[in-house]
């Protein structure tokens, strides 16, 4: 343990020194130049490192992936659309597409939104609001690896007759049911994996929706109630429409997560028992099959799925900037 201290210290000091050194030296060099040239060069000094990182780790690789998806397993020869044909006729990929689109995007997104909305609206009416929200928010700090482990114990199964150690099966037996091997129970097991995701993300939705809810004018709600509107009506006619823009924003974030879902599946089932998802499929193509061409083709499929969200986000950003 002790021998690791220098390494951790170096990890702390070297990047700080390097980045501070860079900006100070670059500004000093800039000071040697004629005053007229400085304002033209200065911005590039400040955004240079960021552009280099983003170019190397995001832009160039994203373009390269599109090329690699047209090449063979070792990225040597162009083979046209063969990878896409192979991927799109693979029953595992069909399963992954179904799970991503149907289970993850539809169920995960709607569950988190409903959950977040219910908690935000109801917690607004109790005195222990912040405590309740904090507890629901807490799983945001927990990795999906830990979350998957935690939930494995909730879903765990013993044969009937033996004492159930999993919370879910124990409750089921308590109420006179038969224990079930939940994790292997396709296609319902997809829902159980999604619940882990919902558990982790509900707090995120709650926090945003709750903040947005506080922005709804109280007078508006009071006036509606005085006019005899019932609570469900107040929610349907006033709160929901006013929250809709926020709900859309949260939904886009959730859809992106649903498309990229990886950790939960990797840890809990590794895609077995019909729970495969695209990101896990891609990992397998990369490291188990070692076919970079097909892995890239799966990545391109993922990217295609993201494009609508990307366009939506850019539009929203432009609108925001216009208001600024």
């Amino acid at each position: 343990m002790i021998d690791r201290i220098p390494q951790v210290a170096a990890a702390l000091v070297v990047p700080v020194a390097a980045l501070l050194g860079y900006i100070v030296v670059a500004e000093w060099l800039l000071g040697r130049l004629p005053a007229g040239a400085r304002p033209r060069i200065r911005p590039w000094i400040w955004i240079g490192p960021a552009l280099a990182f983003v170019g190397f780790f995001l832009i160039a690789p994203a373009i390269q992936t599109i090329f690699l998806s047209l090449k063979d397993a070792t990225s040597t020869n162009f083979i046209g659309l063969d990878n896409f044909v192979a991927v799109l006729t693979d029953s595992n990929v069909h399963l992954a597409i179904r799970n991503n689109l149907f289970w993850w995007i539809a169920f995960f997104t709607s569950f988190v939104l409903i959950d977040g909305l219910v908690i935000a609206v109801l917690a607004d009416r109790v005195r222990y609001e912040s405590l309740a929200k904090s507890l629901i928010f807490l799983p945001q700090a927990i990795s999906f690896v830990a979350a998957g482990t935690i939930w494995k114990f909730i879903y765990s199964y013993q044969p009937p007759g033996v004492e159930q150690t999993g919370t879910l099966n124990a409750l089921l037996v308590l109420f006179g049911g038969e224990p079930r091997p939940w994790i292997q129970d396709a296609p319902l097991n997809n829902l159980l994996l999604i619940i882990v995701g919902v558990w982790a993300w509900a707090g995120f939705a709650t926090v945003i929706l709750s903040a947005s809810l506080k922005g709804v004018p109280v007078e508006l709600l009071e006036a509606a109630r005085l006019d005899g509107a019932s609570e469900p009506m107040v929610f349907r006619e006033i709160i929901f429409p006013l929250l809709l823009p926020t709900i859309t924003v949260v939904a886009t974030t959730l859809v992106i997560f649903a498309l990229k879902a990886f950790d939960v599946v990797y840890v809990m089932t590794n895609g077995n028992f019909d729970t495969e998802v695209l990101a896990n499929r891609m990992y397998k193509e990369m490291f188990t099959v070692r076919n970079y061409g097909r892995a890239s083709a799966v990545a391109v499929l993922l990217l295609t799925g993201i494009v609508p969200v990307l366009i939506f986000n850019l539009r929203r950003f432009r609108e925001q900037e216009a208001i600024r």
Binding site: F57, Q140, M286
Partner: protein
């Protein structure tokens, strides 16, 4: 009137308390189990720990720390998370400063590009970056993960910081310029100190992403156990522990302890960050 109002809110209380219980029980169950003897974890439910005889032990922690590489992994996670949090935030702060307060050609286009990149799934970049790392001999090194996390974290960090920097009052910069403050002085003595809340938000975000990341570590560190962070080690233990699977409870808790502390102490900055830029996936 009062009574009926109280009764009317009863379903509200019941629903909230039920949801809170569902949300906390999994974590409590794991923590309780992690302090129970392995034989009991395997044969009885965690709730039986609350009836006599109360049998608790540190055995799971002891075993998992000494025989399953968890101590080393904790240090590895720490070695990864510090630079992988600092570098992107420093680089992002430089860039955000330029985007907010300097004018240059293509400024808006470049910024729009960054906003678009926020949602690009990093899976799209994995194969080419891995190939580049392989030819540079960087796979399996901490540097590989530091740099990758920097690249992936930058778009959101720049977005968040630029919005905050840009909202600082213009008069301050003019006054600083009149007093003869140069770019460096303005940045270090004015912009950074005034932006502590935004810097705190993005630090917590980046810290949690990196600490909880599995994919980037899995891909760029390969199977190298000597450099594996907690997430990779724990996910391996899920499959490799076999008979000793009870230790997983302790492993899961160890991997979560530090982020939980950070999260609980700095939660309000985290919330602010979420509200300031809820577009990151």
């Amino acid at each position: 009137m009062r009574l009926s109002r109280q009764l009317g809110s009863l379903p509200v209380h019941v629903t909230i308390i039920a949801v809170v219980l569902i949300w906390t029980i999994p974590t409590i169950a794991t923590i309780v189990n992690s302090f129970r003897p392995p034989a009991l974890v395997g044969s009885t439910g965690w709730w039986t720990a609350f009836v006599p005889p109360f049998v608790f032990t540190l055995e799971n922690y002891e075993k998992v720390l000494t025989t399953n590489n968890m101590g080393t992994s904790f240090l590895n996670s720490l070695t990864i998370v510090i630079p992988a949090t600092f570098i992107p935030i420093a680089v992002a702060a430089f860039a955000a400063y330029a985007f907010a307060w300097m004018s240059f050609p293509l400024r808006n286009t470049l910024f729009l590009l960054l906003v678009g990149l926020i949602v690009v799934p990093l899976q799209v970049t994995l194969v080419p970056v891995l190939q580049a790392y392989q030819s540079l001999g960087l796979t399996g090194t901490f540097v590989a993960v530091w740099l990758a996390h920097t690249g992936y974290g930058l778009p959101f960090a720049i977005y968040l910081l630029r919005n905050f920097f840009g909202a600082l009052p213009k008069d301050l910069f003019e006054a600083a310029a009149i007093d003869g403050a140069g770019t460096l002085t303005t940045f270090f003595r004015l912009v950074l100190p005034l932006s502590v809340p935004a810097l705190a938000s993005i630090t917590i975000f980046q810290f949690l992403w990196v600490w909880n990341d599995l994919l980037v570590a899995l891909i760029f560190l390969g199977g190298n156990a000597a450099v594996a962070p907690l997430t990779v080690t724990v996910s391996n233990l899920v499959n490799s522990l076999g008979q000793d699977w009870q230790r997983l409870t302790a492993a899961a808790f160890i991997s979560t302890a530090l982020p939980l502390v950070v999260f609980l102490t700095l939660q309000r900055y985290f919330v602010r960050g979420i509200l300031a830029g809820s577009v990151k996936g």
